[in-house]
Symmetry: C2
Amino acid sequence: MHPVDEKALVILSGGQDSTTCIFWAIDRFGKNAVETLSFDYGQRHRIELVAAADVANYAGVRNTVLPINTFGKLGGNSLTDDSVEMPNTVSSEGLPATFVPGRNLIFLTFAAAYAWRYDIRNLVTGVAQTDYSGYPDCRRATIDALEETLLLALERRMTIHTPLMHLSKKETVLLAKELNAMDALALTHTCYNGSRPPCGECAACILRARGFAEAGIPDPLVNHSG
Amino acid sequence: MHPVDEKALVILSGGQDSTTCIFWAIDRFGKNAVETLSFDYGQRHRIELVAAADVANYAGVRNTVLPINTFGKLGGNSLTDDSVEMPNTVSSEGLPATFVPGRNLIFLTFAAAYAWRYDIRNLVTGVAQTDYSGYPDCRRATIDALEETLLLALERRMTIHTPLMHLSKKETVLLAKELNAMDALALTHTCYNGSRPPCGECAACILRARGFAEAGIPDPLVNHSG
């Protein structure tokens, strides 16, 4: 039995980064102290939730799915709105067309509420500043501010771990290898177009492929699918 | 046409405090610059959303309802969970049994996302430290921290106005009278038991009645219903 301050909740999208975070959390807190939380928020590709369940199952940790039916009603973003075309590049306004304002704040705040209920004091998220400069709520400064807000709001300190924050995609791949997470990465989903095998052409596929190439490691997802 | 920094979004529950905030916002920003946002979050009493629509209609401002289906799945609180008995007092653990961890953070963060989308820079909420010491996310310190978090997360300053923060219930009633909001208060809903006319016996009814009594003003809701 772990003390409450050593239980950890990993926010799991089913992608490469959050999957790597599971193995980081297991390495740090032990498998029995780790569980995962996913959000059914109207993402275009249900395959993400399937990947999350598969990854958690493979890792031997619990996966809870919380519904959020709010983002769709906010409208105007390509990750939940079919009328918006998927971008392959960052928009001219500086923010990616995939930007849902405050989405990570919402995910982390709901995760904190869940953690509060189950006496978990550590949240783990795969957000990263490197490669993701268009998402201001993924920056460590935002995470730090949120930690303070949560401490005041819940009267309990929730530590938000961001093990990938300052890693390049290459370094994230190397970390996954070091943590023996490569087989789990074969189960993840990254492609913006929801394809399996991945389309290889969207911004997410290209970014992922570049990371593996720079790390000199074949992507087990591509091998697995091909 | 108001400049974007003078539009305001009032978070409207349909209760006495948020209704008073509409009139505060109209007084400050002008009726054409004010709209309201309510949340359909699985509250036990749908009458709250009816009251919100009635109040907004009476005030002549728009009311948008955003759904949030997440709290029910977090479980264990009496405002959304029928299996938990309604408290008439604060629980022995210090926090009211009506406590939903982080609920106000979620409401405000979604409101900020909505405001971001529609170029609104002012949020108005009726939370108050006085009389509500059991809800740590209603304190001004929490609101201040959230403002900083939102600034970092959205790269846009959202000012969160809390006109009732340091007022007693009596002072809130006097403010409503000063703002000519008394007729609107006849349309509000306060009772924890969802009764109309109000039960007069739950903690919410007692608190409301005390405020009007101390202000020396009859409650138009009670008169209206009786």
